[in-house]
Amino acid sequence: MDYKTVLTTCAYCGCGCGLYLEVLDGEAISTIPSKTNPINEGKLCVKGWNIHEFVQHPKRLTKPLIRKNGILTEASWDEALDYTVSRLKEIKEAHGSDSIGFLSSAKVTNEENYIIMKFARAAVGTNNVDHCARL
């Protein structure tokens, strides 16, 4: 029997509430708020209380997928990246930079959001960039 309580930070929003993931035999079975964390003081919102659910959810994406003939099929990282780069270049050539939009995430780090912002503005040349906190 392998049981541990793993102190971590909620991934959902920028608050960063502290919580424990209860892991029994390799499966995250529940979430317990951290009483001593100065940010949330033992409380969580409904998203934080259910953070353990998505970690090992069967519907999580585990491999790159490319839609071929209308069906999403598994691809390698190289194939997926090559496809993305070539298609973005084509679209930018044909329809202009502002025809492309970027949607990032409030769940990633500031550094990752900086990269996507830089990519959108400097590499592609558009300011159509935002993230899920605004949806």
Binding site: M1, K4, L24, T31, I32, K35, T36, G42, V46
Partner: protein, 274 residues
């Protein structure tokens, strides 16, 4: 307050009586629940008093239930205060835990904490550390009872309107173990509203706490909207005591909760604390 607890836990682990001890540990700068299984690794065992007594308590019984469901043959030790032991006794009568498979290690709460909790009995039957503090009466309940009916309704409707429906009160409650919860059933509660159906959502929970709530106060601590849930559940417990002479966790071993019994109210006065 942890040295005597550590000694007792070491004894239990070394004797092989328990597979592990579910207690609290100081790790990564925080206090959190932990299963101790190595008797030589108890240095960071604490009792949940970081800055003030009892400020970092967790629903350890709830984790015990998870263990019992997956490993019903194993025996575990658990840190208990007065309220946790009431919880254990009640969970035994509700068949969620097997008394043969749980070894409680008790600590008594200091007077300061007893008063903060308005606890009727701030110590378990047996404890290895701490001293018996005096039980306290429910001043918070008396205060609300002091309003007239209209005032009481206004008070509670205003409190419930703050609710963000995080389900924290239910999630943290060591006595909530139902696999299908009424509060999530759209046939019974109008789901999809925030604040949730006022006052039905909270009154439903309060009614479900009848004969179940052992007054640990973790619900109050988990509520991000600071709703005085505990006061409401204390009142419910008072009503059950008046009508059925029963308080969860204070009854003699094996005594069934009155709401699980078909028949009239008991004639005798049970072992009730008041």
């Amino acid at each position: 307050m942890s040295e005597k607890v550590k000694t007792r836990v070491k004894e239990l682990l070394d004797s092989g009586k328990i597979r592990g001890f579910l207690g609290l540990k100081n790790m990564n700068g925080h206090i959190g629940p932990h299963l101790f299984s190595d008797s030589n690794d108890l240095d960071d065992l604490v009792t949940g008093d970081r800055e003030r007594p009892g400020d970092s308590r967790y629903p350890l019984n709830k984790q015990l239930i998870n263990f019992a469901r997956c490993y019903p043959e194993e025996t575990f030790g658990v840190l208990v205060r007065g309220c946790d032991e009431r919880g254990l006794k009640t969970l035994f009568t509700w068949n969620q835990l097997d008394p043969e498979k749980v070894v409680p290690v008790g600590i008594a709460c200091p007077q300061e904490l007893a008063e903060g909790c308005e606890c009727l009995q701030p110590y378990p039957d047996e404890f290895v550390d701490g001293e018996k503090a005096d039980g306290c009466s429910f001043a918070s309940v008396a205060q609300v009872d002091g309003f007239d009916l209209a005032g009481r309704l206004e008070h509670w409707l205003a409190e419930f309107a703050k609710c963000v429906k995080c389900y924290g009160c239910r999630n943290i409650c060591p006595m909530c173990f139902c696999k299908e919860c009424t509060l999530e059933s759209k046939d019974l509660i109008q789901t999809g509203d925030i604040p949730p159906e006022n006052p039905i959502f909270h009154l439903t929970r309060a009614v479900h706490m009848a004969g179940r709530c052992i007054d640990c106060g973790l619900c109050n601590e988990a509520c991000p909207a600071d709703i005085p849930l505990r006061t409401l559940y204390k009142k419910v417990a008072d009503i059950i005591d008046q009508e059925f002479h029963h308080r969860p966790g204070y009854a003699a071993a094996g005594e069934k909760p009155p709401l699980n019994t078909l028949g009239g109210a008991p004639e005798h006065l049970g072992s009730v604390r008041k």
